[in-house]
């Protein structure tokens, strides 16, 4: 349980970081909080030649409210979000999600950027940010780009990040007062990755709605039929169950009744939280 040897660098700027990452064909790994990378290093699953420490880059720590967005720096820790350090509460959603990630000692160092860059299918932030319609801001040697998170996450541990690119932060559209949020997560052992997570947001009857299921497929998925029912103000559990079955069947093998029931249940509970507000 000891990591293999690697070299280590602390870049002083984003430009220096992107110059180091993926350079000269070396296996490089970016580290922020290290709460996912350290277990992988200790277990020798990850075997980089060079670890590039992003934790001191001030540009990745920016938290700001613009006219249209809440800008969340990639280095923002789960604990900071849990403690209400964002300028917008998103109906309490991000605070609640943060407080249920792993344990406090992990939340003190684990970052939102690191979580999204790893793209574990059972992670909390990719699904939550998808429900909120966030964009990922990315910088590489060729410059900076912005991409909707639904296009950024390509699959299990797979994103559109090139070897030299890092996540700088996220732009999350500023909600208005009508925003209602719900989420529910099933974890067999506290602190472990989830078996099923659902996120639901609604701007009231007729307004936009989004429902996301994570830990079910290789990436978080939108449930459009369920979102349509929420938009229409549907309260009937039978109707909602039909819509969930229709959407979830696209992502989960129907011959696994346990998983179908599990995911149906987490989505229903997230919807009930939205409807109770």
């Amino acid at each position: 349980m000891k990591a293999a040897a690697f070299d280590y660098a602390v870049p002083k700027s984003v430009a220096e970081a992107t110059a180091l990452l993926g350079s000269n064909g070396a296996a490089t790994a970016a580290i922020a909080g290290g709460q996912s990378l350290l277990p992988l290093l200790n277990l020798r699953v990850a075997l980089p030649d060079l670890v590039v420490d992003l934790a001191r880059l001030e540009e990745l720590k920016e938290i700001a409210a613009t006219q249209t967005n809440i800008r969340i720096g990639a280095l923002t820790t789960h604990a900071a979000i849990e403690d209400g350090k964002l300028p917008e509460a998103f109906g309490g959603l991000m605070q609640k999600v943060a407080s249920k990630i792993s344990y406090r000692a992990v939340r003190n160092h684990g970052t939102i950027g690191g979580s999204v860059a790893l793209a574990d299918p059972a992670a909390d932030w990719p699904g939550c940010l998808l429900a909120l319609g966030a964009h990922v801001r990315i910088t590489g040697r060729k410059g900076t780009r912005s991409q909707p998170i639904g296009e950024f996450v390509l699959g299990q541990y797979s994103t559109s990040l090139a070897a030299d690119e890092i996540i700088v932060g996220f732009d999350v559209p500023r909600p208005d007062a009508a925003l209602r949020c719900g989420s529910f997560k099933v974890v067999r052992k506290s602190g472990a990755f989830a078996n099923s997570i659902a996120f639901a947001i609604s701007y009231g009857r007729g307004g936009p709605a989004a429902v996301v299921l994570a830990a079910a497929a290789d990436r978080p998925c939108l449930l459009p039929a369920v979102a349509e029912r929420i938009k229409a103000g549907e309260k009937s559990e039978d109707v909602l169950r039909d819509a969930i079955a229709q959407d979830v069947a696209k992502h989960v093998a129907k011959d696994d009744p346990y998983l179908m029931r599990l995911h149906t249940s987490t989505v229903l509970r997230a919807l009930r939280e939205v409807q109770a507000k």
Binding site: M1, K2, A3, A4, A5, F6, D7, Y8, V10, I31, G34, Q35, L38, P39, L41, N42, L43, V51, D53, A55, A79, S102, Y103, R104, A105, V106, N108, H109, S190, G191
Partner: protein
Amino acid sequence: MKSLTLQLNGSKVTHEVEPRETLADFLRERCRLTATHLGCEHGACGACTVAVNGQATRSCLRLAIMCEGQSVQTLEGLEDDPTMEVLRRHFHQSHAVQCGFCTPGMLMMARDILLRMPNPNAQTIRDQLSGQICRCTGYSGIVTAIVAAGRELGGAERPQP
């Protein structure tokens, strides 16, 4: 090897370290501070919990070299800490120890809980302590001890981490 300087239990310490060295190995092997125990070495058991810049941290999930210029506190450095003094006494009185392997991590996390949440109830403590594994006690004595310590400290002035 790279040079690492940090504040360790209030004193400035400099050592040569390998980049792959975890903070836990640095504390135990280079600094001979063996109160920090290593159980799983991949963030599951909580035995290696210390404080980095005042925040509870799994020392097996942090490279020592990442702590350059930072402040690290281990159980050895908290002998005269007012919160730890009360916790130690209640761990003794409630028999919150059996084999003792998890105890340093339990004490570090218990102190973190009491500094963040005044006078927590048993359920809050169980939630907050869910990342610390004890294979002997069944947790009852540990939770009882932290509830009692929280009650005793509840009205007192709270020292900053």
